[in-house]
């Protein structure tokens, strides 16, 4: 199974295996990883699963869709490499993915 590593704001790392087809948000929720709230349950409605994707993974994770981009535009700590974890679907190609979490999701 492909692996993802979540890095908390304080540097703590959580490596998990995540079934292809599930979202990076679901991986965090199912493994109780702090820092991803996912208020809306994956509907791209709340921007509480904001993560930063390192440069080297950006090509593989793709760029945000229109709805996602407009939500991210107003997330407090948004960067060019911001994504909503509910919109990144796990696949074999993403095996080894690392995502970093912001200090807070509000």
């Amino acid at each position: 199974m492909p692996r993802v590593t979540y890095v908390e704001y304080n540097g703590r790392e959580h490596g998990i295996e995540l079934e292809a087809g599930l979202s990076v948000m679901q991986g965090a929720i199912e493994n109780n990883i702090p820092g991803i709230d996912a208020d809306c349950g994956g509907e791209c409605a709340c921007a509480t699963c904001h993560v930063f994707v390192p440069e080297e993974w950006l090509a593989k994770t793709g760029t945000p869709g229109e709805q996602e981009a407009s939500m991210l535009g107003f997330a407090a700590t948004a960067q060019p490499n911001s994504r909503l974890a509910c919109q990144i679907t796990m696949s074999e190609a993403l095996d080894g993915l690392v995502v970093h979490m912001p200090e807070a999701q509000h």
Binding site: I29, N32, C40, G41, A45, Q67, M71, G73, F74
Partner: protein, 410 residues
């Protein structure tokens, strides 16, 4: 974790209770956690019940808040199909429906709310339904479909979402609302008008300013409604969607400060230092508006779950939040942030005819109180920031499509 030591007990395995158990483990609670739930299944998402689930677009598994293995992995004992009947504060035990008692070191009430009933003649017919639980949604799904007409009493979010789902499934829907407009309690005039028009354009019949006198039927099944003005409407089933009342009887009986919701502070503490309450069953302060409110939303359930878990684990409380809510009807994504208490002005940004617009509600000092956005996620996000900062914004700037909201928020 000593199994003989009383642990933390959560009454209600819904959105708030499930979230609290997870946050407690995240925040380092080492004692036992017992999650008591009246429903037969593990905690699940309710929002899809009126939307994707009704239309057969979700599975029981996709509805679950966390997968089944989660609870064993994090040592959260689930006792499902189990009803708590009383809290004995002196003995520090919860009394269960089967006559046994469960001791607690800390207790969290997360009992949610129950659909209001109207007390009408005919309300007990088998096809007069309400929608709160997964089982209710299954019963509702069975009466929807081509050739079926659903009468919906109450034009709140749940009623309108179900009307949209009924149409999507090829059936007919008629909505009867006592107030002069749909969503009268929860939306501004512009949004109400827009949504009513959208539903009508898609074949939903909406009767406002209309009271229901009785539900008529025979052989144990409703066949129609008699309105107060004497009109009769035929239907194959009825959904009563007239709001929900907090499940607070146990809290009241135990002498906790309650009534219109269990009273809690910003750490979700009740009037008993060992007892917390979270989610739809509570009445809580909202410092942003200097008021006490009862919120019924997933974000609020999660927020209060965090507040309780943080307090119990000796962590600082979460930052104050802006309440928000979403709803999906047809291809319309509604996102609302803030609450429009005593609004002085409603400012429209965008064009409702394009089905992408937002309404900003300002107070007399032009502070942004709330935003309602339709297919306008950026306006929603901007509004949320403005509400949080209690920003004063000139209506002309909000109205101007050339004015970047990002610049206004900066």
């Amino acid at each position: 974790m000593d199994p003989a030591e009383p642990g933390l007990v959560i009454i209600g395995a819904g959105h708030a209770g499930g979230a609290a158990a997870a946050f407690l483990r995240q925040y380092g609670w080492k004692g036992g956690i017992t999650l008591l739930g009246e429903e037969p299944g593990l905690p699940y998402q309710r929002p899809p019940l009126s939307k994707a689930w009704l239309k057969g677009e979700a599975t029981a598994e996709s509805l679950l808040l966390r997968p089944a293995r989660f609870y064993a992995q994090y040592a959260i004992e689930t006792r499902l199909g189990t009803t708590a009947v009383a809290i004995d504060r002196a003995a520090q035990v919860v009394r269960l429906g089967d006559g046994t008692a469960l001791p607690y070191a800390r207790l969290i009430l997360a009992t949610g709310a129950a659909p209001r009933r109207l007390g009408l003649a005919g309300e007990a017919f088998a096809n007069v339904l309400t929608l709160r639980h997964a089982a209710d949604a299954d019963a509702l799904a069975r009466v929807l479909g081509p050739g079926r007409r659903l009468a919906i009493i109450g034009a709140g979010y749940i009623g309108l979402e179900v009307a949209a789902s009924a149409r999507a499934l090829g059936g007919a829907a008629v909505v009867i609302e006592r107030e002069a407009r749909v969503l009268a309690r929860v939306a501004g005039l512009a949004l109400s008008g827009f949504l009513a028009a959208q539903h009508r354009a898609r074949g939903v019949e909406i009767l406002t300013g209309a009271g229901v006198e009785a539900i008529e039927g025979r052989d144990g099944l409703a066949t129609g409604l008699l309105l107060q003005d004497g009109r009769r409407l035929g239907c194959d089933a009825v959904l009563v969607g007239v709001g929900a009342a907090p499940n607070e009887a146990m809290a009241l009986a135990a002498g906790l400060d309650a009534g219109g919701g269990v009273a809690v502070d910003l750490a979700a503490r009740t009037s008993d230092p060992l007892i917390y309450a979270i989610g739809d069953c509570t009445r809580r302060p909202l410092p942003l508006y200097g008021r006490e409110v009862r919120l019924e939303s997933v974000p609020n359930a999660i927020e209060q779950a965090k507040q309780a878990a943080a307090d119990i684990c000796g962590r600082p409380p979460p930052l104050p939040e802006v309440p928000w809510f979403w709803s999906d009807q047809y291809e319309l994504r509604l996102q609302m942030a803030g609450l429009a208490f005593d609004p002085a002005e409603a400012v429209l940004r965008g064009d409702p005819d394009s089905a992408s617009f937002a309404v900003f509600h300002l107070d007399a000092a032009q502070r942004v109180l709330a935003v309602e956005a339709v297919n306008a996620p950026a306006d929603f996000m901007a509004g949320r920031v403005m509400v949080a900062k209690q920003m004063q914004v000139a209506p002309a700037a909000l109205r101007d499509p050339a004015q970047s909201l990002k610049d206004l928020c900066a």
